[in-house]
């Protein structure tokens, strides 16, 4: 347990020292969402209807940005060997990395999503469902992304492979997330979307660490 916490602590310290990764993801999120009103026009009702989808897709893409370095840096500088030899189960290394990814990317994106959604004229009644969905969805994305990052480790063109592998797996997250936050959605529909989102998170929490562990072990050979 101390090793697990020490690993998360190490990741957070690294993220603080190299803050550029987190800032880049946030700026990307901001710039992409700001482009939409320019492209589709600033008409409030139309924009508000699209706002959940815009926020979801932009957040998903922004969360992808730091993934390639999540294990890539450790793989290149030899630190991955030390992680694999730390006595932590590879799946737990995956959980620690996913936690760190969520704390340094998912959480900041979640905090940024509220002002962005208001900027996109999302009706106030949809704001809480959007953020609740994003909370679950960002956790799912960190888990899926960690598994993907571990699997493409050592592959040529890993940076290209990663989105192609992870984004299709994230489709349920977008579908339920955006549906639950749609302005026209009924309260029962919102609850249902959130529950499905939670169910998918539970599934990923069980499967993704194992996949990540297998990827790491293969990369260590």
């Amino acid at each position: 347990m101390t090793a697990f916490l020490a690993l998360i602590g190490r990741e957070l310290r690294l993220a603080l020292r190299h803050g550029a990764d987190t800032v880049a993801a946030l700026l990307f999120f901001l710039v992409v969402t700001a482009l939409f009103p320019l492209a589709v026009g600033p008409e409030p009702v139309a924009l508000g209807r699209m706002a959940p989808g815009i926020v979801w897709v932009a957040a998903l893409l922004a969360a992808l940005l730091p993934l390639e370095r999540l294990f890539g840096a450790d793989y290149e500088d030899g630190s991955l060997d030390l992680l694999l030899l730390s006595g932590l189960a590879p799946a737990l290394i995956g959980v620690a990395k996913a936690t760190a990814h969520w704390l340094t990317t998912g959480l900041p994106l979640l905090l940024m999503a509220a002002p962005v959604a208001i900027m996109l004229r999302l009706p106030a009644t949809s704001l809480v469902p959007l953020l609740a969905g994003l909370l679950l969805g960002s956790l799912t994305m960190s888990l899926l992304g960690t598994a993907g990052a571990a699997i493409v480790l050592g592959a040529r063109r890993a940076a290209v492979l990663l989105p192609i592998l992870v984004l299709p797996l994230a489709t349920p997250v977008v579908i339920f997330g955006a549906a639950g936050a749609a302005p026209a959605q009924t309260p029962a529909g919102r609850t249902q979307a959130l529950l499905l989102e939670a169910a998918f998170l539970a599934f990923c929490a069980a499967v993704c660490p194992i996949a990540a562990g297998a990827g790491l072990r293969a990369a260590g050979e």
Partner: protein, 199 residues
Amino acid sequence: MFLAENLFVVRDDRIIFDRVGFSLAPGAALLLLGRNGAGKSTLLRVLAGMRRPDGGRVTWDGEEIFADPVAHTERLAWLSHLDAMKPGLTARENLAFAACIQGGKILSVLERMGLADLADLPVRMFSAGQKRRLALARVMLGGRPLWLLDEPTNGLDAVSVERLTATLATHRAQGGMVIAATHQRLALPCAAVLRLGPE
């Protein structure tokens, strides 16, 4: 007793090495020699339990290392040909995770490698040799019995090589084992030699 028998490794349909074996008693040392690509690093990965051999077995006191991989990681200290240092962290911070796993005092190993004055400097400012010494300091943490070293003298100056030699001698005097792959001269008295590949 650390024992390897009949090790055999294939990669991409190419035999990396075949029929490799040795036995190592506490206090003993083994020098792995061989050309580039002869499989020295691969053999070290097998001995660390990171890669399963395609044939043969590795045992510690009679027990197969892959039967209990965690127990094996707890007795070894690892140095690959890379230093595994994060440039943005200080020397002390870089060793913090290893110290948490292996135990031992960071400052005392830094002193033994002559790096105590640089403890709070970011590793970004270290020279290649200083980084290597820091990586060696990490190996020394906690007094793990089996040291697996890949090119430990890479980038070290003469003084540091002497310091390393003394450290290895102390480690062996305390009953520790050393397996080092190198193609430079490394003074390991009475070390067994294992040559991989052609002369």
